[in-house]
Subunit: 326 residues, 2 copies
């Protein structure tokens, strides 16, 4: 089968196709004939050789497709349309996945739509609810509102809570889209100081939950814009890694909770538990078209390099997909 | 009545006695004839004019004594021996307290012992369990093991969990005492690199929960010594406020949770809930002498300045008490 590996750490030009034999199915696993996969930031970090936690030489952490083989104890029918997280190996014609985290694809969704769900919706669910503890009375600040996780988080916050949703993005087009998904207050970070806007919108209290993909460059403004007892979930560092001069007194006085998280390196047990809760809490909303996967663009598998370039240009609204085994 | 206020922000010499009329009891409150109070770090911060959250001009945040008046709805008998947190006003001959957070003093404890309980044991309970989520399988690193909160946390971790307890302190005398309270591994931070000792004791994994009173000067070592998914509860900044460089990638990869907290400025509702859980989970252990308040020294009320100096010299093991209304 064809699959994508990294020649040597570097840019999109380092991505190349290589022939592999089909992965072997172990107990409790299924083999999926992959129909679609998606590009994630973590794939770029892996491509650059910086993640340090990817054991699989094949990139890609989520797929949709059809079950074509199953190991002992895998409780699922052959031929079932499924989607879910893989431990690497997603940019490939076939991929294995523990059966207990495969999600059945609702009939109203295509394979390309389905593969746009697992990583960003599970991440958004985990950060908003498991780590952020978002409640109806809260205000949530979702940075990078146009991103995959951003568009997922806005919808989840809107449909599962009565929280006030504030989002930031860098263009009117992205902000308009965020508003259409349910964001209450939309801030163009290039034109407005988001901390001031957040304070204005919250009677000077600040946001109770922050989803922060940005890191260092937003540190001061996040700290100013967070409420007492706020939960600040750090899930990316697009804006730099190192913060100069962190004042711990401010964390103490505001009783801020900063929670670093990544989904990909977590254990199989964690992913199973998260997937199960997500299936029962959220999947019905996809069937009812209350929540939808946001697909920015679908690339043919052969265009993997262009797909990576597209993400790094930061122009996407929602997910960048790969069509495989057409 | 006599009570202690701050002349102007500064050292212990700024503490002075002033005459006040007895506080008035509102609905749901009790008036306590104070028998003992205790010195806390937060009193020093308030004395220096740095806390910014003390509305009461009289210092002191915990007392023990007898109920001498009660407001409507206060469900407690006059004459009851009680202890608990006050919203300032603890360094005084009389103090008011919401009745719903007054704890009855076990018969086996004196007033001086009782007033050594509320602040440090409630703080230790809150940080270990509510914020730290300490479980039997965890390793907890308790800094400043000889301090009031440190001695309380070691005992609580020992009696309520099977967690491995590591503690740091600056003298053999303090470390021996920590060991007698239940600490499994005792590190002299003046002679040993505590991060290396923690890694050695945990098979290179690190501590799952850290109680950090120190802040900036311990930042790097705490980060090195914390386990993946570790909870790092920041409850003091004795070692400085500003961390020069914080690497967010390390927080992300280890999925560290940093939780700043203070007990004193929290709401009455929070203090009530915490007190109630503490009374049901921990108070029986005091009656059975399984856990005990650690009193370093009792000062006469008139010696308030010396009592503050004693805390600032960092020589105490356990709590520094004030005897009032002898």
């Amino acid at each position: 089968m064809k699959a994508v590996v990294v020649k040597k750490p570097g840019g999109p030009e380092q991505l190349q196709f290589q022939d592999f034999s089909k992965p072997k199915v172990e107990n409790g696993e299924i083999l999926i004939k992959v129909k679609a996969s998606a590009i994630n930031r973590t794939d770029i970090v892996s491509r650059e050789g910086k993640s340090g936690y990817m054991a699989n030489p094949i990139l890609g952490i989520e797929v949709s497709g059809e079950v074509v083989e199953k190991g002992a104890g895998a409780n699922i029918e052959l031929g079932t349309r499924v989607m879910g997280l893989v431990n690497g190996g997603g940019y490939a014609e076939y991929a294995v996945m523990p059966a207990d985290r495969a999600m059945k694809i609702p009939d109203n969704l295509s394979f390309e739509e389905a593969a746009a769900i697992p990583e960003v919706f599970l991440t958004a669910y985990q950060t908003l609810f498991w780590l952020g503890g978002l409640t109806d009375a809260d205000t949530v600040l979702i940075h990078a509102g146009g991103s995959g996780v951003g568009t997922a988080a806005i919808q989840l916050a809107k449909k599962l809570t009565k929280a006030t949703i504030i989002t930031t993005a860098g263009s009117k087009e992205k902000l308009d889209f965020c508003r259409s998904l349910g964001a209450d207050i939309c801030i163009n970070y290039k034109e407005q100081a988001f901390d001031e806007e957040v304070l204005r919108a919250t009677n000077n209290l600040g946001a109770d939950v922050i989803l922060d993909f940005i890191g260092a460059s937003y540190w001061e403004k996040n700290l100013k814009g967070i409420n007492t007892d706020g939960r600040w979930v750090l899930i990316g560092i697009l804006g730099g890694t190192v913060v100069e001069k962190v004042n711990l007194m401010e964390l103490l006085l505001k009783r801020v909770q900063i929670k670093g998280t990544l989904l990909t390196p977590r254990s199989d047990a964690y992913k199973k538990e998260l997937t199960e809760e997500f299936v029962s809490s959220v999947m019905p909303l996809f069937l009812e078209n209350e929540i939808r996967p946001i697909v920015d663009r679908v690339f043919p598998f052969a265009d993997i390099q262009r797909a990576h370039e597209h993400m790094e240009a930061n122009k996407n609204v929602g997910k960048i997909m790969l069509k495989i085994n057409e």
